[in-house]
Subunit: 465 residues, 2 copies
């Protein structure tokens, strides 16, 4: 082979390149059968032995595969899905996948004003340990078996009661438990979307929505966001242009801006959804941190076109996984079939623990306490940021987040890189905004901003870029 390659190098090269180009240009797709040696030799005007040699060379390189008795094929995709490659290529400092991992992995030596959750010390650890002991003792608790298809009935009743407090009327049988709000949104994607469907998100929005929707092969379109909710005129234009299957949003304590949906905007959004046959997935993950519940789309709409999602990860524990979906009654059966097919159901122990924590009063007391602490931290952090020269985009009614604009057109990714070098993890705006709009912003978690070093490092980083 090597000898013959030396005598006719040019022809074999030409034939090999012709095939490689067709594969690269997707004229020959992975798995496609190559032309027979004879046919290809004729079409290229070369000898059959030249084609055989080219095929063998490509086979050795792994570009094509010989199958006994049936010819040569373009090598299949051995590589699996890579989320990083199907989205925009992002610098680490603004890569949502990396920010999520960093928040989960980093040790206590880091300051994390960019974190998406409360510090452990703010969480009701003693109450959780008490609930664990209670379940361990309670002979009636099920620590063995799968949960019921919809999920632990007493917890669903409690969630229905809590939703009612927010103006969302739902029977317990309209509530389906999941293992987290993220898993709930994912399950809804699989319930509602065909590959290539469009989903609207807020711009800016929670950064993981982009990765989650990309993994569901959805086309993601951002709706410009205002302190009162989505920009309704833009929303209508984008609905007409993209005919989205659903709009995914946080109505209460929006991530990352902390904004609250105004009732007049809510009404207009619902009218548009109805006129254009669009669904809405309302992720209420931070809702329990509100002191006085603002209106929910799911409440105005009566869970007709709106599906409500929530969990306890941000308020009780992210170690114990438990979330839920509230939706129209006629869709519950189909959703359960899908849930069981994909996971055999939610974790029963987690559901039991959450139920215990809600009903023994610990959750109510804990919420009252952290709301107060958050309100204090919010005011304090806003003042400190303003002193550093940042502008608060809107004053949140509660929750964890402040969305703040850097002065002088500074790029928040550059600032974040500098801060990270000094062990302060920031959350730069570009991670939250598919467009370029977020570039001058940072999201601050006020519960992680008590240490004055946060602000000195921020000021140094701003000066350094």
């Amino acid at each position: 082979m090597a000898g013959s390659a030396r005598t006719t190098p040019t022809l074999v090269d030409t034939v090999s390149s012709a095939i490689t180009e067709r594969i690269a240009g997707r004229q020959l797709m992975p798995g496609a059968r190559l032309p027979s040696v004879r046919a290809f030799a004729e079409s290229m005007g070369v000898s059959k032995s030249t084609v055989v040699e080219a095929y063998e060379r490509l086979g050795a390189e792994g570009a094509i595969v010989a199958r006994r008795g049936s010819g040569f094929y373009v090598a299949g995709k051995t590589r699996p899905l890579c989320l990083k490659e199907i989205g925009p290529q992002l610098d680490r400092a603004v890569d949502p996948l990396w920010i999520t991992r960093q928040s989960m992995q980093s040790g206590p030596e880091l300051l994390k004003p960019g974190s998406g959750w409360l510090p452990s010390s703010w969480m009701p650890e003693e109450a959780i340990r008490r609930a664990l002991r209670h379940i361990a003792r309670d002979a009636d608790s099920n620590v063995i078996c799968y949960d019921k298809p919809l999920g632990f009935p007493p917890l669903r009743s409690q969630i229905a009661r809590r939703l009612a407090d927010k103006g969302v009327e739902a029977e317990a049988d309209q509530i389906v438990l999941t293992d987290s709000a993220t898993q709930a949104v994912d399950l809804l994607c699989r319930f509602l979307l065909d590959p290539g469907d469009t989903v609207l998100v807020d711009d800016p929005c929670y950064f993981n929505y982009h990765a989650l929707l990309r993994a569901n092969r959805a086309k993601v379109v951002g709706v410009p966001f205002t302190p009162a909710g989505p920009d309704v005129a833009q929303l209508e234009r984008l609905i007409v242009e993209h005919r989205p299957r659903f709009y995914l949003t946080n109505s209460a304590l929006h991530n990352p801006t902390g904004a609250t949906l105004a009732p007049v905007v809510a009404h207009r959004v619902l009218k548009l959804a109805e006129a254009h046959d669009m669904l809405i997935v309302e992720d209420d993950i931070f809702g329990d941190l509100e002191a006085d519940p603002a209106p929910r789309l799911a409440g105005f709409d009566g869970l007709d076109r709106v599906i409500s999602v929530g969990s306890f990860s941000k308020t009780l524990s992210a170690s114990i996984r438990c979330g839920y979906i509230a939706l129209r009654p006629d869709w519950v059966e189909g959703l359960i079939d899908l849930k069981l097919a994909l996971s055999l159901g939610n974790g029963h122990l987690s559901a039991t623990l959450m139920h215990r924590l809600i009903t023994d009063g610990a959750y109510r007391r804990h919420l009252a306490e952290i709301r107060e602490k958050l309100a204090r931290a919010m005011g304090e952090t806003a003042r400190r940021l303003e002193r550093c020269g940042l502008t608060i985009w809107t004053e949140p009614r509660g929750g964890l987040f402040l969305w703040a604009r850097l002065p002088d057109g500074l790029d928040s990714a550059d600032v974040a890189r500098h801060a990270l070098a000094r062990d302060v993890v920031l959350a730069p705006g570009a991670a939250f905004s598919a467009e370029t709009g977020g570039r001058e912003f940072l999201r601050f978690n006020v519960a992680h901003c008590a240490d004055p070093r946060t602000f000195s490092v921020l000021e140094d980083a701003m000066a350094a870029v």
Copy 2:
């Protein structure tokens, strides 16, 4: 409108029907814009007012939607995915979705020889309660925060050790925790498959694979199964014909047959996988019930083309969700990105509990005990079934399942219907076999066959059909 409809009923009807047919025939897809009134009137040779009326009628019926200023559109799909409708239409008695729900919902009054798991009374409840108390007391246990991206490191080390006992060499960093084996297989589907890709499964196989793969929009092809593993000649033929992305199988204690893969078959399967660039997902969910581990594909292959999946749902608890994936090191990062994007990670509390149960010796003792009980129940159940006139397809080396053929060509779905009317839930073969091959078979869970009524009801049902 009603008046004008009466004056030109035929023309409006004709125009309406023409549109309805185009929608039904998918010439007009959901969301497509209809022709303008003028253009359509000209093409149909009718007046514009006739078209307007037809459009309005279709609008009132919900088939099309008017959008202000931009014309008429085919109504979008309001209905979400329905697994029941995208698979074959099945009678309830053989519908996997229904069997799963029935097993989860039914109370203690039912006998469940068709169940897929052990009776609660066989599970190590006291050890689990002890582990709960231990975690509650242990100040170092994390009951608050998200797990690490790969999952609790000490549990991954333990799983690596357990895999090594089965001949599968894996570093702890090749192991990714999930919330169940089902969720693990689903995550791999999303990692490996494009919509429309083909997946091979055994025929018969665990019934939920069909629903899970359908929900992932895969094309599912069954490989005829023998007591030594898949029929290798048929496997090769199907690989050549369908070019599957992966083959999903249980090597040890196959569900539903209880068969064990023979080494010679394992070797041939791996050679085929390599020659045809196919991956293998080996679901080892019942593996811990083996006394002496049989060879695993993942062991022979060194986790190159084979990905191994497992969990503790069948041996410790299904209330505490915890599973895992072991795969080649260069794919771990991509899989973790996907895992975090879709769920924000596995449940840390569950992982901690599983780790505690494995390391305190409870799991080892429990396994030894249930293996012995299962072996006794297996022999006893086989004898009783043979006395009822059934034939055991293969004698399992362990585990829960016996795959038994009814005499005289009896249809197991009919037998199952009769038995269900007398509170005995059977698992008819058609649920496990996409083709018709399973129709004469039933899967028996020997741990649920202690009650003699199981067999008297079975005999009555066989006599009644």
